[in-house]
């Protein structure tokens, strides 16, 4: 029992969420004949790439002890710009939308850093406000990309693998390495784990948080651009509620809301778990209404399991 617990708990070589991902994978493979195929796996990867990219940045911000609720709105703005600015040329449009993401990330980060206002509040404001910016820019309209090259990119493949999935996995790998291996990544843990100590050690915690907000803004914009290439269009409401699913995925992946703890590999597991669940339940024709209930129930269950596994570290006091 204890060995099982420590096996499940120990991030030594496998995280609990991956056990869940594997279990889901096996379950759906048995339940649906269409589930286990290269095409479907590619589908899952492409479909999860949007939330996945958001979750990469979100993981950094959450390890920092912050949160970003504005990712969905930023994604929507980037998508609108990427399509709406295409008359100026594809490169301009894409660069401008990535820049918009970076700017919004920087604004959030600067406000959090300089004013000391809680990131939840800052980004809640941005979530509402950036959506307003989208409506101001688009005048409530959907935009359509006349250039099919844009769309073809979204649908293109390298070998048997869709480009979008490859981009997502490559970004995941890079973000994993940055978090594990670089000074910035390690400082991110230090800032979230003990900001006071990090500050004393000369780590510029404000700058560290700013960079991470810029990162999450960039990835939100990238996700927006890539989503736009899948649609060849953008809608002003794009990305609504995505922040909720992103946070859910990151938490499923074992990142703590209190900061100082988390990993990209766990986040990848969390994102895939949600993606596989959605895809598998589609395949099994579970009615959409039940999907919502099941997703909610699973999230709570994982939370309970996680807590049970971690009880010993909480000193066992009924506080």
């Amino acid at each position: 029992m204890t060995t099982l617990k420590s096996f499940l708990r120990g991030g030594a070589f496998i995280q609990p969420i991956w056990i869940f991902v594997i279990a889901l994978f096996v379950f759906f493979s048995l339940m649906s004949e269409y589930f286990l195929s290269l095409g479907n796996i590619n589908n899952i990867l492409v479909q999860t790439s949007t939330i996945g990219l958001l979750a990469l940045g979100m993981t950094y911000v959450m390890i920092n002890g912050n949160i970003d609720l504005s990712v969905g709105a930023t994604l929507g703005l980037a998508a609108s710009l990427a399509v709406g600015l295409q008359p100026l040329g594809l490169t301009v449009a894409v660069l401008a939308s990535l820049a918009a993401g970076i700017v919004i990330g920087a604004i959030n980060g600067l406000i959090v850093w300089k004013t000391g206002v809680n990131a939840f509040i800052v980004t809640l404001g941005a979530m509402i406000g950036v959506r307003g910016l989208i409506f101001v820019y688009t005048q409530e309209q959907s935009f359509y990309a006349s250039n099919f090259a844009f769309v073809d990119f979204g649908a293109s493949t390298i070998g048997p693998f869709p480009v979008l999935a490859i981009i997502f996995l490559a970004c995941t790998l890079i973000m994993h390495l940055v978090l594990k291996k670089t000074g910035h990544g390690r400082n991110t843990f230090a800032v979230g784990g003990n900001p006071e100590a990090a500050m004393d050690a000369g780590i510029r915690i404000g700058r560290n948080m700013l960079i991470n907000f810029i990162i999450v803004g960039f990835f939100a914009a990238l996700a927006g651009v890539l989503l736009a290439t899948q649609m060849g269009a953008s809608t002003p409401n794009l990305g609504r509620d995505y922040e909720l699913w992103t946070i859910t995925a990151v938490v499923l992946g074992g990142t703590k809301l209190t900061g100082g703890h988390g990993s990209i590999s766990g986040t990848l597991g969390g994102v895939l778990a949600i993606g596989i669940l959605r895809n598998g339940m589609n395949m099994m024709q579970v009615p959409a209404f039940y999907v919502l209930v099941i997703l909610g129930a699973i999230l709570i269950t994982v939370l309970i399991i996680d807590q049970r596994l971690n009880v010993p570290t909480a000193k066992g006091v009924r506080a």
Partner: protein, 515 residues
């Protein structure tokens, strides 16, 4: 004690001249001067709030002074950040744990100055090699790859010290380094300090513990209310005169006598076992008696108290309160049955820092100051006034946020909170940790006074003078077990040390207690 007198006349490596620091509405430091010679331990004393920590924060670059000079090796310096101070050789070892729990020992040691390779990548090989080298110098028995969250408090303290050695330090400031160490662990720290001394490092040592100061330091400087009151050579002074410098009056030492009339047993613990925490713990506290529980941090003392207080499940054994078997499911049950616990950690467990004095004071006994659920504010005020006067709590008003009070006054609020519930059993866990000598004596006197008036009192402490000074009987704990029980007035220090370090064959009673 090792004579470093050859350095006594050496030029100071560091001089602070006329340092002034103002915070909005307060002058925290007023023209304070202070110097440290190489190879010297210079103790810095003062009551809480006297400005010691502020002075050290100015030195370490955390605060910028409003006036005065910092001269390091004959050169005037301005430190804008702690990192700059550190790079110049000034290191502050914090009172609070300033480690990042989810990172390895090595990463914590090199926090903010991790060796890098190209591309901002961490050079793990060098990081661990350098860390291991430092840990070896400190004779640490843990690996640089261990997670800090898995270490004991004492080991964490060693990591903090290891961090000081990353840059060849010229000045090391120890701020209450032994507050969370037990008597057993202190000698290791003392060795480290003497080692640093031998290398010519200047040490600033802040502590409330006179014994340590007289054991370690060559000179003593005293601050009072942000003012510098003087420096003396340790060899030429004694505790009483230093105390007088600190509080500006002679201290009413704790001459109150211990209680001597006991009633029947109030608390009887028999064979108490909590999985992974303690096993087969048995002891009794009688009415009117003060029982000291002595042991190392981690010996399970606080955990026993928490179990009695309904904070933990126990797997075997029995707790009787005034003869009745009790098994509390919550602290609420414990409180209504007449148990009070003054917890170990004042700020985290004892007080709601954002609340005012009065509200904290009545928090455990809200039902006594309300009718039909509504608070009777006049009664609340009366409760506050009563204990404020009885315990001489220094606070401008009941509206003052508790977080703004000094440690001693905070602790009195916590004690007042429990007295107000009129408990039958009062448990105090480290009641004087981090409290200045003046308040400490007052609290000791108060404890005795309470016992005399009939309370059964259990005092948990890792300070030997405290358990010897206040208790009638002493229960020694080691590794989750009671190893011995002593009459406090007839026990040798060596016996106590043996009992809490698990050395066998200490006393006949001990042999009997260990099953």
């Amino acid at each position: 004690m090792t004579a470093m007198t050859q350095n006594a006349e050496a030029r100071p490596v560091l001089e602070l001249v006329d340092i002034t620091k103002r915070f909005p509405g307060v002058v925290a430091l007023n023209k304070v001067s202070f110097d440290v010679r190489p190879g010297e331990v210079h103790a810095l004393l003062g009551e809480n709030g006297a400005g010691k920590s502020t002075l050290m924060k100015v030195l370490a670059g955390k605060h910028r002074p409003n006036g005065g000079k910092i001269i390091l090796e004959d050169e005037e310096r301005v430190f804008d950040t702690p990192k700059e101070a550190k790079r110049s050789g000034i290191v502050l070892i914090h009172q609070e744990q300033s480690l990042v729990p989810e990172m390895s020992v090595a990463e914590n040691i090199f926090l903010g100055s991790t060796p890098r390779k190209w591309g901002n990548r961490v050079d793990w090989k060098r990081l661990h090699a350098d860390s291991t080298e430092i840990l070896e110098r400190l004779k640490c028995d843990f690996s640089s790859r261990d997670l800090v969250s898995s270490l004991s408090i004492a080991k964490k303290q060693m990591v903090e010290i290891a961090r000081a050695l990353v840059f060849t330090p010229k000045i090391v400031v120890f701020d209450e380094p032994t507050a969370s160490l037990t008597d057993h662990e202190k000698p290791v720290l003392y060795d480290v300090i003497r080692n640093l001394q031998a290398q010519g490092v200047g040490i600033v040592y802040i502590s409330h513990r006179m014994d340590e100061i007289f054991q370690l330091s060559q000179r003593i400087s005293v601050l009072r209310d942000g003012e510098y009151t003087g420096t003396v050579n340790t060899a030429e002074t004694d505790e009483e005169s230093v105390t007088q410098m600190m509080i500006g009056r002679s201290l009413e030492l704790d001459h109150a006598s211990k209680p001597s009339e006991f009633g029947g047993p109030m608390l009887e613990v028999r064979g108490l076992t909590v999985k992974g925490v303690c096993s087969d713990v048995s002891f009794t506290v009688r009415k009117g008696e003060i029982v000291g529980m002595y042991g190392l941090v981690g010996a399970g003392r606080s955990e026993v108290a928490e179990t009695i207080f309904g904070l933990r499940h126990y797997t075997a054994g029995e707790i009787r309160l005034d003869g009745q078997v009790v098994d509390f499911r919550s602290t609420h049950d414990a409180v209504t049955s007449g148990i009070a616990l003054v917890p170990e950690d004042r700020k985290d467990q004892g007080l709601v820092l954002g609340m005012n004095c009065r509200d904290n004071m009545t928090l455990a006994g809200l039902s006594t100051v309300s009718s039909f659920g509504f608070m009777k504010s006049r009664d609340e005020r009366a409760v506050y006034d009563r204990y404020q006067q009885a315990m001489k709590i220094k606070s401008p008003s009941w509206r003052q946020r508790v977080g703004n009070l000094s440690g001693g006054n905070q602790q009195k609020i916590v004690i007042g909170k429990w007295l107000h519930t009129h408990p039958r059993l009062l448990i105090l866990d480290e009641p004087t940790r981090g409290i200045d000598v003046g308040s400490k004596a007052e609290i000791h006197a108060l404890i005795k006074e309470l016992a005399r008036s009939g309370y059964a009192v259990l005092v948990i402490s890792s300070e030997m003078p405290e358990v010897l000074g206040v208790s009638n009987r002493i229960i020694a704990m080691y590794d989750g077990r009671v190893t011995a029980e002593f009459d406090a007035d007839n026990v040798g220090e060596d016996q106590l040390v043996q009992a809490i370090t698990g050395m066998t064959g200490s006393t006949p009673q001990a042999a009997g207690a260990v099953v």
